[in-house]
């Protein structure tokens, strides 16, 4: 096949602007945004209640805003872990099949653009909408902290908070790509939404249990380990590897590394490896970033791979009704 002429990105800017405007103006995004604000407000409120008593002792007070949880409410991070996929799926589950069902797809593709431009513009438009929503939330939480805690955040806290924001957006990108893939695969918007939500439930609710089951089956504990109720290291290793297939795990681990500066390792650690470590002292930001780097790259790579699959399927699709 000869090389095709012209840029694959012609028109993607136009698609991006339209999608971005649609998302920001659309009722769907507002509904989801309010859902997060209401759930998040509860989490942050209880966190503030707890933190007020320990204002003087914690050097990373503002980060606690995101992670502090008090029963029965989950922490703000956990709320996001659960709801970011919902926003992303809500934005993209009908992005391609919607155009098809509105019968606008063939009209768009009859314009001098490649299909790449349409898909890329839609993805970036959705990602930008997620970024705006998350950044707004982030500002709200920080502002609430400023008002109620009465101390300004340190430079490192702001930087760590921003790193957390980037990770959250990458996590949103993965689910956006999942939803987009579903919207390419299924012609009906309802089926596409169902498939994406089903996958989300599978990954966030069922997967941890499935992983535990598989790893215990593959590497059952030996008699001695049972006797001392010691876990089998092989089993834990497998469990961790499998659970990292879930974007939710990657998000959770990287957030842990960034928002809890004392985190030194995200995997199995033997006592011998901790020799000389000063427990409980925070790592510098650069070291924390290094620690979560594989997780973050994993998230971004996942989003790209899913996008590429959606792209390949879309290229081969017939546009006729």
């Amino acid at each position: 096949m000869a090389r095709r002429s012209g840029s694959a990105f012609t028109g993607s800017g136009t698609v991006f602007l339209k999608e971005f405007a649609d998302h920001l103006g659309g009722a769907r995004v507002q509904v989801i945004e309010w859902l997060i604000i209401l759930t998040g407000a509860g989490a942050v409120y209880t966190a503030i209640q707890d933190l007020k008593s320990t204002t003087g002792q914690d050097p990373f007070l503002f980060l606690r805003l995101f992670t502090q949880a008090r029963d029965p409410l989950p922490s703000f991070v956990l709320v996001l872990d659960f709801l970011i996929p919902l926003i992303a799926i809500g934005l993209a589950f009908d992005s391609v099949n919607g155009e098809f069902n509105r019968r606008t797809l063939s009209r768009l593709l009859a314009q001098p653009i490649y299909r790449d431009a349409l898909l890329l513009g839609k993805f970036l438009g959705g990602l930008a909408a997620i970024a705006v929503a998350l950044f707004t939330l982030w500002l709200l939480v920080m502002g609430l902290g400023l008002l109620t805690l009465g101390v300004p955040p340190s430079g490192e806290e702001v930087l760590r908070g921003l790193a957390f924001l980037v990770i959250a957006i990458a996590y949103g990108g993965v689910w956006l790509a999942v939803a987009m893939l579903c919207s390419v695969l299924f012609r009906s918007a309802a089926t596409s939404a169902l498939a994406a939500l089903g996958l989300w439930l599978l990954v966030s609710v069922l997967w941890p249990q499935v992983v535990q089951f598989i790893s215990t089956e593959v590497h059952p504990p030996t008699a001695i380990q049972l006797l001392f109720s010691q876990p089998n290291p092989d089993q834990l290793q497998l469990q961790q590897t499998l659970s990292r297939l879930s974007p939710s795990t990657l998000f959770g681990e990287s957030v842990l590394g960034i928002l809890h500066p004392t985190t030194r390792s995200l995997g199995l650690v033997f006592m011998s490896q901790l020799e000389g470590a000063v427990m409980g002292t925070p790592l510098p930001l650069a070291q924390s970033l290094l620690l979560v780097w594989p997780q973050v790259t994993g998230l971004i790579a996942g989003a790209i791979i899913l996008f590429v699959i959606a792209y390949v399927v879309f290229q081969r699709q017939e546009v006729r009704a």
């Binding site: 002429s5 009859a110 001098p112 009704a321």
Partner: protein
Amino acid sequence: MNDLVINATGLRKRYGSVAAVDGIDLAIRRGEIFGLLGPNGAGKTTTLLMLLGLTEVSEGTIEVGGFDPAHDPLEVKRRIGYLPDSVGFYDNLTAKQNLRYTGRLAGFPRAQLDKRIAEGLDRVGLADVGDHRVGTYSRGMKQRLGLAEVLMKGAEVAILDEPTSGLDPEATFELLEMIRTMKADGTAVLISSHLLDRVQAVCDRVALFNAGKIVLQGTVPELAQRVLGGGYIYEVEADGGEIEHLLAAVPGARQVTRTFLGFRILADRDIRGDLARAVVASGAALLKLADQEPSLDTVYRHYFESHPHGLESHAHGTA
């Protein structure tokens, strides 16, 4: 050959073992209105999509304005305005916003775009409602808006897929009038349709599709000559007397069929005088003797009556 805007030869499209389009040749000249006719599933839309480069060609070559849709899809799409079958728009946007979106995708600079949109809307009579949401539009208005998009693009070729389907007679008439004006701009227009008599009124040439092949191609009188065997059709109504055998006996009459009120006579030359004399001589009162334009409808029905299974026994590949 330089005035050809579309030149397709040996075009084939296979879905698995089924050939949706099975070796067709098309040559469309600048400023020509060309009709693609045929039953549903005959391969008309697939052919149009291949010309646009929206469907891959299994075999054959296409040139649109000198470009191959497979290698220079953007150049080809720049030259073609497309109105898809049952066109859709973003209902929550106004007509102008909808056109602005596609206009930007088409790469028109902002300053020029507003002028083009205004002109397009004006030509299809939607200038007054250009700021209304498309959701409030009727079917006919949406179809016209689709045409405005094609006009806005100022393309060399306009491809209109079933532009009149689902429209009432008045709206159909208006739309076809607008299509006729495009010819004056030098735009080549391809119309696919099954509304034969309407299409006949605007088309310079037509191609009859059946089972993925073009079975007949040419001007309407040419087709009539070929399918009906004779170029002249007369209607006779008379009162009193059994005249069918008399009409059939007139030299030049090839076929006489009884219709609801009278007879239809197929002839290879002008035999009106002889027909009138025959009726009057028999003593019957001649009520009507009319010259009938050979209609595409008759050609179409006649063709499919004699070729029910899509057999291309004669006239295949004629151009």
